[in-house]
Symmetry: C2
DNA sequence: TTTTTTTAGTGAATTTATTCACAGATAATA
DNA sequence: TATTATCTGTGAATAAATTCACTAAAAAAA
């Protein structure tokens, strides 16, 4: 399958929304409702869904439970994926205990930091290790995702380590552009850039 | 001016990269280099820049310092913009001391939490207040941006408070879709969704 | 000095994404 | 039962974004 990033992004949002609807006990949802919820038009949503072949029912919409299940299977979003966090500063430790990951099928199974001192002080139920053991642990625990929460200056080094250890995806919270091989899927979460984007839209908003 | 979101996003990244280049003492940068750095083609970059009228020099590219200055002026990214953080849990306190905000022209001038107890315990150089004083402080300190780092269940309430207080932009870290009036620029930073996006691209990557 | 190379700028072409328009289906209503 | 209203699915139309192809300029090299 070969979907555009825009479509994948919308499908992820739809998945999240289906999850919420399921918890609220809602049985059906229409393309119109989904559209309003995730900020798109009903046409776009239906096109997206049609690419996945999800069945919708006339005058009812999509059946929440089965549709979510189907999406999960197609995207493997239901498989619990294991992740680790590198860098246990304030942000890293906040992420370590971010309950939503666990709820949504992602399991943080290890944390890494270069300061042995810090590792001893951290109070969390998740195992923490020295960065020197990263490769070993990633392999042993079958970790697929690396979350980078180290300062700018060590980001590249950590990415290289994760790459070497064989993770399949990287979520980068460090505020620098790092070089990541194309075979690894990655996404940057640059907080400053997010604020910039908002500020820029003050001035030149379209849509 | 009326630029697309894609263009605005790229311009923000360019701005960030120009900043880095300036610090490294680089004088000129070509559209090709910028393209490689921010993940786009040189054509797109030149189109983007042409919309802003930035002058480039034959065989040299864009002059880092003046180009950055110009972008800053056009986007008002150089003006220090004041922001507050609502919700001082682990993530909120991590953001309170995120030095990069301060470095990049955003100033966190207040933190809010509903737990008075927590407020007293927090050790930071930034003033923290009870949420009940949000409106008062936002007005008094001329705060333009609200960063929402509260749990899902209170996110909507906080957004309403910020809206009432008159912020112009909201950066939402809570993992739920909140209702925000259209006149307020906002962006969601949903960590779980980011991981989902990465996981989904494992399966159906394009590009 | 002349030639070559590199780079920006930009209209045209192309590709991609979105929206429209309507057929087909079925629940709700009369 | 017949009619109406609503919702999906999808080919066609439209709009938007990206890429191409080429000109102009100037630095570097010959």
């Amino acid at each position: 399958m070969d979907l555009s990033n825009n479509t994948i992004e919308r499908i992820c949002k739809i998945f999240g929304h289906l999850d919420a609807l399921e918890k609220r006990g809602v049985d059906f949802v229409s393309s119109k409702e989904l559209a309003g919820e995730i900020g798109a038009t009903e046409y776009t949503i239906r096109k997206d869904i049609s690419l996945l072949g999800g069945p919708g029912y006339t005058r009812k919409g999509y059946e929440v439970k089965s549709f979510k299940k189907e999406l999960g299977e197609k995207f493997l979003l239901t498989k619990r994926r294991k992740a680790c966090i590198v860098g246990l500063g304030r942000l890293g430790t906040a992420l370590l205990d971010y309950e939503n990951f666990q709820e949504d099928g992602f399991e943080i199974v290890a944390g890494f930091d270069c300061s042995v001192n810090k590792i001893e002080r951290i109070r969390t139920s998740i195992d923490v290790f020295a960065v020197s053991r990263l490769e070993e642990i990633v392999e042993a625990r079958d970790i697929e995702l690396g979350i980078v929460a180290v300062p700018a200056e060590s980001a590249q080094e950590v990415v290289d380590l994760l790459t070497k250890a064989g993770v399949k995806g990287i979520l980068n919270f460090s505020p620098v552009k790092v070089n990541i091989p194309t075979h690894i899927v990655h996404l940057d979460m640059d907080f400053t850039n997010a604020l910039r984007f908002i500020a820029a839209r003050f001035i030149m908003k379209k849509t």
